[in-house]
């Protein structure tokens, strides 16, 4: 108990750090994921190839390797002086985007072909059929995998703690370095992660219920 109370500000910083890392990289991965999914389902072959290469390469690369690229290659090749937080959310965002792309693609795949054909035959434009028919159904199919992807992202964000970012893993490292009992630290860190993951799955369950329709 004392470890928590004596270091409440450290734990708070770590908790907020994990939240910030997760939130920012979730945003990046969603934007990138949607873009790449757009490439993968587009009728343009080079874009499709690009999307496939992106997904295949990133899904089969360990995240730690991407962190290595972000911290030791990107500054040298692009320009120096990039903040550690930015590098970390780029690594996390790019990695997760490949999984999000696949979730979206399979979500679109769940919409029956007849639905789109029906929409087109009653004269809906591309945008209309996308907005009124395809996307609402696809969203419902995408939500459950998206929820587990975001939970996985939260967990993966711990790696950033090993690369000059203040998050819960960083706090675990700092406190155990100061000689506190790892059992107690582990307990509180675990609790913090449980809170975040439960919150994410709670929010998504709420969303799923809001979007639910009788079929």
């Amino acid at each position: 108990m004392n470890v928590l109370l004596d270091h409440l500000d450290l734990f708070r910083d770590g908790f907020l750090g994990t939240l910030a890392l997760t939130g920012a990289s979730a945003l990046i991965s969603l934007v990138l994921g949607i873009l790449i999914a757009g490439c993968r389902v587009s009728p343009v072959p080079p874009l499709r190839a690009f999307g496939t290469a992106w997904v295949t390469l990133l899904r089969n690369t360990p995240l730690t390797l991407l962190f290595l690229v972000a911290f030791f290659v990107v500054p040298q090749v692009l320009f120096p002086g990039i903040n550690s937080f930015v590098l970390a959310i780029c690594a996390l965002g790019v990695y997760t985007s490949s999984f999000i792309c696949e979730a979206i693609r399979s979500g679109i795949g769940t919409v029956a072909l007849g639905q789109a054909e029906a929409a087109r035959s009653i004269g809906m434009t591309f945008m209309q059929s996308l907005r009124i028919v395809v996307l609402p159904q696809a969203t419902r199919a995408v939500l459950p995998p998206l929820s587990s992807l975001l939970i996985a992202l939260t967990k993966n964000s711990a790696i950033a703690g090993g690369f000059n970012n203040v998050d819960l893993f960083n706090i675990q490292k700092t406190l155990s370095n100061d000689g506190f009992n790892i059992l107690v630290i582990f307990f509180w860190i675990t609790l913090a992660y449980l809170i975040i993951t439960f919150a994410i799955s709670g929010i998504f369950r709420l969303l799923e219920r809001r979007l639910e329709v009788a079929r």
Binding site: P62, L68, Q76, I108, A112, L130, K155, G161, G162
Partner: protein
């Protein structure tokens, strides 16, 4: 590529437009690649001297050692996690409420904690603390980096695999278990001879997909400084100077290719099993290899 949910089979106008998009798309992709290659080249990363390090037998041996360390950890963690996952899955499905609760709690907790946190705690000596501070037992437990990595991977992946197995057991038609009970089989017999074999068979693609995740996660050994493939890459890069620069880019490209090759080989095994399984006539369709159950994806 004929019709899809998103667009109809293209007519003459759309085809013309697609050609334009194709040209622009290719230019864009090639442009991005060109910029990357140009930047790397201007930093001297394609200097033959940079890549010459891989011509030394010592460096090759080093990479090979790192690869073997990674594969060793993967083999141990894969094996142990599969064995442990059967225990956890059976425990969670058990009729004895305390056993079921215990297993459910264990699975839920260790699935929510980042693997890195568990591995780090094991490495620092959480088991030793449990042993002497909580249970007050004599002696001590020492966990070296390799076993911290293996144990951490085992615990986390066993929890995920247990959930995969549970889904597999639930996918076996209820009638089978009922028929087995009607024949007078005991609970253990039903589980081991009827349910589990079919569950494992049905879930094999998902199980292998999760093994790919296990393989990728061995790279967390980097953080606890266990000399696996990635840590080897870091040491090679930092301890070799070439004209005042360090060969991070060449090493990362080579090591990355090895990881991607290993993972692709495992995934194609999963796909092959899935296709082969579909030919079987068990009435249970194997899970799709591409999407492992629940949050097993990452």
């Amino acid at each position: 590529m004929s019709a899809s949910v998103l667009y109809d089979a293209p007519g003459p106008k759309a085809r013309a437009r697609n050609v334009v998009y194709t040209v622009f798309g290719s230019l864009l992709v090639l442009g991005i690649l060109a910029v990357i290659v140009w930047r790397l080249d201007s930093q001297g990363q394609f200097n033959p001297k940079m890549w010459d390090i891989f011509n030394y037998s010592g460096i090759r041996q080093n990479i090979l050692d790192g690869l073997l360390a990674t594969l060793k950890v993967f083999a141990l963690a894969g094996l142990f996690s599969l064995l442990f996952s059967v225990v956890l899955a059976v425990g969670r499905l058990s009729d004895h409420k305390p056993v079921s609760w215990l297993c459910t709690g264990f699975i839920e907790v260790f699935r929510s904690v980042p693997l890195l946190i568990t591995i780090f705690a094991l490495w620092i000596g959480i088991l030793d603390n449990l042993w002497s501070d909580v249970f007050h037992l004599p002696g001590s437990i020492s966990v070296n980096p390799m076993w911290a990595l293996v144990l951490g991977l085992t615990i986390y992946n066993a929890c995920v695999q247990a959930e995969v197995l549970r889904a597999g057991v639930n996918s076996v038609p209820k009638g089978q278990a009922e028929a087995a009970y009607a024949l007078g089989m005991r609970k253990t017999q039903v589980m081991t001879t009827i349910l589990l074999p079919q569950a494992i068979r049905a879930m094999l693609p998902s199980i292998i997909s999760q093994l790919v995740v296990t393989l990728k996660d061995t790279s967390l050994g980097y953080i606890i400084l266990f000399p696996e493939l990635l840590q080897t890459a870091r040491l090679i890069s930092s301890n070799t100077t070439i004209d005042g620069d360090y060969p991070y880019v060449p090493t990362i490209i080579v090591i990355g290719a090895i990881y991607i090759a290993l993972c692709l080989a495992l995934s194609s095994l999963a796909n092959w099993i899935e296709r082969r399984g579909r030919r079987g006539k068990t009435g249970i369709t194997p899970a799709k290899a591409e999407e492992p159950a629940e949050e097993a994806t990452v």
